[in-house]
Symmetry: C2
Subunit: 341 residues, 2 copies
């Protein structure tokens, strides 16, 4: 059995990369400054940032492979404009590609998109295509709220998003629904904005008929699906009140939850309520929550421990750890098969 | 043991009441229209609306008493202006008072506030005081987002809210944190906006030091605390990362969750994770979700069944059903004691 972590971020990129971002934002304020260019980063700097962090923890915790994307909170789609977002996304994705090239057995790329408030998401199609076709990435992170907490884009079931979905279907890649930082003081990024976005996206999917239009479109809703599994009765009841089909057929052939839920009772609920075929192992490492749980003496985000503690037969555990990810990310499966895995 | 439902709404008010609201909104568009006045509603109309709905279900399901407030989704703080919100809140609260006078053993009043976007919440102090001192209400519903989904008010830990909190403390009444309808297409009201607001409020309380400033201030976060119990590990970990005290002392002496979680696994998680002293029985009846769960053959919002199915000793069950509510709502306790209960 392979253990595939579907949710990892390069939160530890070398400082020069973040400096490029700061130069970008400074340049926006003062266009007389020189046009910033992506940082020159050595392989050694990348190795150090990975080997002391994500790779070390991946190995210490017993995972085999991480679907690796740029730091979500730093996507910052609400900052700057389309050109700035585009250059930043490209630099972030290129850096992921370098990590993947250095550690091809441990990391597979998932891309950031050059979204920008008020800009059609269709403009992100090019970067998705580049990342998938040229860089070999297997998925993307799609931000349902590029405004960073003002929620002024159309819902995910709106036709606004369809050109992007068409490309996802054509490339056969799923999207993780993932917001970035919050610039709204009401929403703490990882404590409210992330979880709210997960809950919001799921309810939007209930309201619409997106998967009638795109039967093969697939989304991963991270952070254990936000509030959804805990309120599964509410969502089943709301689907009924809204005259939608049962959730199992209306959206659960297309929507998946990861396991970024940082305590045993939450994971127990997830596995009790949600069909195991819809659960993908993930850790969000590193990480929204980096500390040690004083109740267990273990890291909060060592989610593998919670899965291992579930009373599952081996075949079921393998669905969560490996088989669901290979089904939801067919390009990952192809890549693994090419390696004889 | 008394069974106290801390979360009931007058969602079935006679049509004339809603017509007054429509006249209000029409008058806003065309001030040449006559100034609308609250509807004349007969006792019989109120009796019918209650006896066929909330009272019938309260009795059928075996509860004794409901903390009863105006329909939350109809508070509509985002519509109109301060004067309109004020007249509407007053009419809604007066109607609750009439229900309470007709069925004093079955309903106790909780008030709507005349909030309005951009208007200091201090302006709601008068209506709170009227409802508590003159009408005998025991709590209020406080809307953290009077904009209806644009979230442009300061967070609940901001000093903006302090004058209102001072009055709550003086009157010794708690607030349920409860948004109204959503005018943001991203947020389905009962499926996303409500749950997001619950999660958001809790994270705001973690970020601040509100209960150091107001040690006796109390909030009920409805809908089982939004996403919070499911992500309890995340919140414990975030409090630690933010250098806050442990949740138990930082806010769980002041924050309570109701049981409006519409399936057994959700209630099981709630009772497993959250101290039983912080859980108040509630049904949200009637009702965000009005249908029958095909998996159980019972109504989704018959939350008493889920509590009854918890493996609790009688003393613990009584905390959830009665004692916590009497502690969190001292004016309810006083009222019951005066009746020898």
């Amino acid at each position: 059995m392979l253990i595939i972590d579907c949710h990892g971020h390069y939160t530890t990129a070398p400082a020069a990369h973040q400096k490029f971002r700061e130069q970008q934002l400074a340049w926006l304020e003062d266009p007389a400054l020189p046009t910033p260019r992506p940082a020159q980063i050595s392989d050694d700097a990348i190795r150090e940032s990975i080997e002391t962090n994500q790779l070390r923890l991946q190995q210490a915790r017993g995972a085999d492979l991480t679907l690796f994307s740029p730091r979500a909170s730093a996507m910052g789609h609400h900052q700057g404009n389309e050109a700035v977002s585009s250059a930043w996304a490209r630099a972030c994705n290129d850096l992921i590609k370098r990590v993947v090239d250095l550690y091809p057995e441990n990391f597979v790329g998932v891309c950031q998109l050059p979204q920008s408030p008020g800009v059609p998401v269709a403009h992100s199609v090019g970067e998705l295509e580049r990342c998938v076709r040229e860089l070999g990435f297997v998925g993307c992170n799609l931000n349902p709220d590029p405004s960073g907490g003002h929620w002024n884009s159309p819902p995910l079931i709106d036709r606004h998003w369809y050109p992007f979905y068409e490309k996802m279907v054509e490339l056969d890649v799923p999207a993780m629904v993932h917001v970035s930082a919050s610039c709204n003081a009401n929403f703490h990024a990882t404590g409210a904005h992330y979880i709210n976005a997960d809950t919001t996206a799921f309810m939007q999917f209930i309201e619409g008929d997106l998967f009638r239009d795109f039967p093969t479109l697939r989304f991963i809703i991270p952070h254990g699906g936000g509030a959804v599994p805990y309120h599964w009765g509410r969502y089943r009841g709301l689907a009924d009140m809204l005259k939608r089909p049962p959730l199992a057929t209306h959206l659960m052939r297309n929507v998946y939850f990861d396991t970024c839920v940082y305590h045993q009772p939450g994971i127990d609920l997830l596995a009790r309520v949600i069909d195991l075929d819809n659960i993908l192992f993930g850790s969000e490492m590193l990480g929204a929550v980096r500390g040690v749980d004083p109740q267990t003496g273990q890291y909060f985000d060592d989610t593998k421990r919670y899965i291992d503690a579930l009373p599952l037969v081996a075949a079921d555990r393998r669905r969560i750890y490996e088989l669901n990810a290979r089904r939801v990310y067919p390009r990952l499966d192809a890549l693994l098969r090419a390696r004889g895995l």
